[in-house]
């Protein structure tokens, strides 16, 4: 797929951990192992500002639908709430272990976070209410709900449409639905993946989601029934998967483990973003650029661009050009989004 135009390659000093577009898609948030969260203009790659204060790898970031608040989770065992506009840290929650994943609820009223299983502490999932009145510094210290998922630890999570139900991906490759009120596992698919689930991104209307895994495959699940709808099998471990709006594609990224990279050539490393047809489960194209594994992929909410963050410290923002929208590689077929 050569129909892309790279406008920006923002640079972190260390490998990227997660990138996120805001609801309008004009801003791109990126966090990395260099302790800093950056926000960039997505159209030209200019840096708007940084969010400093974390004292460890920032593992995860999410922004609310009004682009007012942003939350981050880091290896310094903190979960922080930031004011997007000013870069101020509004509130800090402290935990015994690192925060691996955060996510806003659709209506911005709650956030969910996963803390790492380490040093005798179990993996925990906590849900906080976000007080949106005032300047945002007045947050409750205690979580609204907290529970420890039984069995394999959770690695990724997101809110679903059903109230009080979140969807999680686990180290064992399991995908499950949890009731946050009592911590019950409502439903699960133990065999969703064969290895650790590395990413989970919801569709626009949250009725389905895509997961990526080290087992070299990505899958689309129905968020209600956890039925696997589509499977995309590649030949490389995957770190991230995203769903493109408008066009029926999914974007997969990954590559050789960082520790194996030096022993293989660049061509071998498979550090490309792969475009797969969402319905036909066929690869339609690849975009090269990174010279390390791709750690995270995000698609512009309007479907006009996508960004990928790599182990090499680069964020590459690709804008789809006209031919991407015009091209109908499979003929005239109406495919619902």
């Amino acid at each position: 797929m050569s129909t892309n135009r790279v406008t920006a390659t923002p640079r972190h000093e260390r490998s990227l951990t997660q990138i996120k577009f805001n609801a309008e898609g004009d801003l791109l948030f990126s966090c990395s192992k260099d302790h800093i969260i950056n926000v960039w203009y997505s159209h030209n790659g200019e840096r708007l500002g940084t969010y400093e204060g974390n004292n460890g790898t920032v593992w995860t970031v999410d922004v609310d639908s009004e682009s007012r608040f942003m939350v981050s989770g880091a290896a310094d065992n903190t979960l922080r709430l930031w004011a997007v506009a000013t870069g101020k840290c509004l509130y800090t929650w402290e935990f015994p272990t690192a925060v691996k994943r955060v996510a806003f609820k659709d209506d911005d009223s709650q956030i969910v976070c996963i803390t790492e299983q380490r040093m005798g502490h179990q993996c925990a999932i906590r849900v906080f209410n976000i007080n949106r009145d005032g300047d945002g510094t007045n947050q409750s210290k205690e979580p609204l709900h907290m529970f420890n998922p039984i069995g394999s630890k959770a690695t990724v999570c997101a809110f679903t449409l059903t109230p009080n139900i979140i969807i999680t991906g686990h180290e064992s490759g399991k995908v499950a639905l949890f009731n946050i009120k009592n911590g019950d596992e409502v439903d699960n698919n133990e065999r969703a993946h064969g290895d650790v689930v590395t990413d989970l991104q919801m569709s626009k209307d949250s009725t389905y989601c895509i997961t990526s895994s080290k087992d070299k495959s990505a899958r689309i699940h129905d968020t209600k029934t956890l039925m696997v709808l589509k499977t995309f099998t590649t030949e490389t471990p995957l770190n991230s998967a995203a769903i493109a709006p408008i066009k029926p594609y999914v974007l997969l990224g990954g590559g050789q483990e960082a520790m194996n990279v030096t022993t293989t050539s660049l061509r071998q490393g498979k550090f490309e973003t792969r475009f797969w047809h969402k319905v036909f489960e066929e690869e339609v194209g690849r975009v090269k650029g990174h010279f390390g594994p791709i750690n995270t992929i995000a698609v512009h909410p309007a479907g006009t661009a996508y960004a990928s963050g790599g182990e090499d410290g680069f964020v590459r923002v690709h804008h789809f050009d006209e031919s991407y929208f015009r091209a109908k590689p499979y003929g005239d077929l109406e495919i619902a989004d």
Binding site: D107, L161, D205, D222, T264, Q268, V279, I335, A336
Partner: protein
């Protein structure tokens, strides 16, 4: 216990469990006939003598174990006795060691098992007509050639699984057979594709026919290497373990006999499965300690399967006749210092001549004058320089053993013998050293075998030639040469720079002239298409380079009739054209299919473990399929036998190619539309399913929101679009209009 007596208790289960079994068989009892008839006085001495006789052979028996029956009426012995042995093994040993053993001048032991005697006496004496086995026709072993689509087959070996596939258009590339063979080293096709062989611990097994049934087996334990004779009549097997024939092993023409013990190589007849002969690979007067790498094939077959030859380096070449496997002429070819030899292959013409010969022989007609006698077998060998005597290449006809041509060579380090596959040309690649013996260069001595007096022509080269290859059925050859200083000391990450050159026979001058040199490549392997013309240059076994170059040497020529009208009308070497380049990471094997239309490359897990798998390309270098599979080991095309069409028929086909190709074009078009129709239907179904699911989701989510998220929905609905028109007065100008 009141009420129950001992008899009431049922002990049968315990009795059954602890029952003592008596060894009531007579397996360890032998009957010895041919014992001297004696009277009682001599009994003790005889028994002692018999016991001693047995003990001498390593089977200890006591006189008490011997029972001697007596004829009470005469008071003499009956001339036979019974011996009880400790166990069956001892008894068996005694049978093999002492049967027909001369006891003294008049008496010879005849030993039988007691059980056998019993059986023989019980034998029904009436003759039973043996039932004739119902004749079951064997499967056609070449049935795959009758494939209506004319497809070729290939075998893949991955992990523990072997699969045989058809190779054709995408819709026709189906699995032909997936056998459940277990525990074997590797698989190999026979040279004409009739059989596929698997190497097991117990020996070699051949499979074939449409049902892939076992066709033959050869019990050579721990076999490691096999080699078929060119006409598939015989098989040579080799194992690093010397043959051992254990006691009680199966005997018969298909099994090793004690005479074969200690040998490594066995020659078998494929049709009958009989063992013909075994050889040892170790030479008696070889200096111990210095283990030279064994040459394989160790036995070289003449192209007509009539002779097989074996070299004793430095001494002689032994040629054996088939099928008797006796030494031809009862003596070897004694050649001092002989290093290597090769048989001359038969060309298509030779085969025709040979067939005619056979026919005339069968007809018995005296029309000898009409047919030319088929060419005798030829072999070529070389001897190195010895003091005062130059190195020498000798062309010898066989079995007449007449020296046809000899060529002396000087300053020779090494010679390699390359026959063109039709037996038209022989190239001797001579690695020569300078007087100081510091640097090495290369000469190619080319023998034109079909011409009178076998003229030799020399091509001198400055560089070292690492690979040489004749164009099959052609008058061209390609060489890979290199002047890279790293040549000869390979290390990790070092890729040797090479030049590839093509030479062609110039008919006017009758010598080989350089067509073109392709400088600074990394290619180290030449693979000619089996039909000639196309050649692939590959970089094999390198960790960083893996290029494939597809060349056409007759690019300017119209395909039809190119052979006939090949005169040097065009500029020399202008027909060479690069058709395409490709890359197969970590390629270890490159092989053309028998038709010369497709090329298969594979990366075998036997060599390395990176990206194992195989790819198939067309002759232009377009990738047709590529499969990356973990633990992929082997890819082999199924060979095809020589065509049955005569030269004339082939010419007819070439002439009317357009006619034939039309039907194929139609097939292709139909196939294409068929495939696309199927694919479109499949896609349509997938899209419909997806859209239906999406519609369902949308319906559910709107319903759900209607109830549960009433507020959110309401809020959404409250969002009205309000258009506000703002009139802004920027400036006001009053104008008076005069009327």
């Amino acid at each position: 216990m009141p009420g129950t007596t001992l008899e009431d208790i049922d002990y049968s289960d315990i009795e059954a469990k602890y029952q003592v079994y008596y060894d009531d068989s007579f397996d360890n009892t032998l009957v010895v006939d041919g014992v001297p008839i004696i009277d009682k006085s001599k009994l003790e001495r005889l028994l002692a003598k018999v016991a001693k006789e047995f003990s001498r052979k390593g089977i200890a028996i006591k006189p008490e174990d011997i029972f001697m029956p007596w004829d009470e009426s005469t008071g003499k012995s009956k001339g036979f006795l019974f011996i009880d042995f400790r166990n069956v093994e001892d008894a068996n040993l005694a049978v093999s060691a002492l049967h027909n053993h001369p006891f003294d001048a008049k008496h010879t032991f005849k030993i039988n098992r007691f059980t056998d005697i019993e059986r023989f006496t019980d034998l029904d004496e009436t003759y039973m007509e043996p039932e004739l086995e119902e004749y079951s026709s064997r499967e056609h072993l070449r049935a795959w050639l009758a494939d209506p689509q004319g497809r070729d087959q290939y075998v893949t070996y991955r992990g523990e699984d072997v699969e045989v596939h058809w190779h054709g258009k995408p819709s026709q590339s189906e699995l032909a057979h997936k056998p459940d063979w277990k525990d074997f080293l590797y698989v190999a096709w026979s040279p004409l594709g009739t059989y596929i062989a698997t190497l097991h611990r117990q020996g070699v097994r051949l499979w074939g026919g449409p049902s892939w049934k076992p066709q033959q087996r050869f019990a050579h334990p721990l076999v490691k290497l096999i080699d078929f004779s060119p006409c598939e009549q015989y098989l040579v097997t080799w194992s690093n373990e010397p043959i051992v024939v254990p006691e009680g092993a199966l005997q018969g023409p298909q099994y090793f006999s004690p005479d074969d013990e200690g040998n490594n190589i066995a020659v078998w007849d494929i049709k009958s499965g009989d063992l013909l002969r075994t050889f040892s690979t170790t030479n008696d007067n070889e200096t111990p300690g210095i283990k030279k790498q064994m040459q394989w094939p160790a036995l070289k077959w003449s192209p007509d399967d009539k002779f097989v030859a074996r070299i004793t380096p430095g001494q002689m070449i032994s040629v054996h006749e088939l099928p008797s496997m006796y030494l031809q002429g009862k003596k070897s070819l004694k050649i001092d210092g002989v290093v290597d030899f090769e048989w001359c292959p038969h060309g298509d013409k030779d085969k025709e001549d040979a067939e005619k010969d056979v026919k005339t022989a069968i007809n018995g007609s005296g029309s000898k004058a009409t047919t030319k006698k088929a060419r005798e077998n030829m072999l070529v060998y070389w001897t190195p320089e010895v003091i005062n005597q130059p190195a020498r290449v000798t062309l010898l006809s066989f079995p007449s053993r007449a020296i046809l041509r000899q060529k002396n060579l000087f300053n020779v380090t090494e010679c390699k013998l390359y026959w063109q596959n039709q037996g038209d040309f022989l190239c001797v690649k001579v690695d020569r050293h300078t007087k100081t013996k510091k640097s090495i260069f290369c000469n190619l001595e080319i023998f034109r075998v079909r011409e009178k007096d076998y003229p030799v022509e020399v091509v001198e080269l400055k560089d070292t030639v690492t690979d040489f290859s004749w164009e099959p059925k052609g008058e061209r050859f390609a060489i890979v040469s290199s002047s890279d200083p790293n040549l000869g000391n390979p290390g990790p990450g070092i890729t040797i720079k090479t030049d590839v050159s093509f030479y062609q026979l110039e008919h006017g001058k009758n010598d080989f002239k350089l067509l073109r040199t392709l400088p600074s490549r990394t290619s180290n392997a030449i693979r000619w298409s089996p039909r000639g013309r196309h050649v692939v240059l590959a970089t094999v076994g390198s960790s960083s380079k893996s290029e494939l170059e597809f060349w056409d040497l007759d690019f300017n020529l119209e395909d039809a009739g190119r052979r006939e009208g090949q005169t040097s009308k065009e500029e020399w070497g202008s027909g060479i054209q690069l058709l395409g380049t490709a890359d197969h990471y970590g390629v270890t094997d490159v092989e053309w299919d028998p038709s010369g239309r497709y090329l298969a490359t594979s990366a075998s897990a036997w060599t390395h473990t990176l990206e194992n798998g195989f790819a198939i390309w067309d002759f232009r270098g377009q990738e047709l399929t590529k499969q990356i599979q973990d633990r992929f080991k082997q890819f082999i095309w199924r060979p095809r036998p020589v065509t049955l069409l005569t030269k004339e028929q082939q010419r007819q086909i070439r002439k009317n190619l357009r006619e034939y190709s039309r039907t194929f074009d139609e097939d292709d078009a139909a196939e294409e539309s068929n495939v696309s129709a199927e694919l479109i239907a499949l896609r349509k179904r997938l899209v419909d399913e997806w859209n239906a699911w999406r519609a369902l989701c949308k319906k559910e989510s709107t319903d759900g929101r209607g109830q549960k998220h009433g507020k959110a929905r309401a809020a959404e609905e409250e969002k009205e679009e309000i258009e506000v028109w703002v009139d802004e007065v920027i400036d006001q100008i009053e104008e008076e209009i005069l009327e």
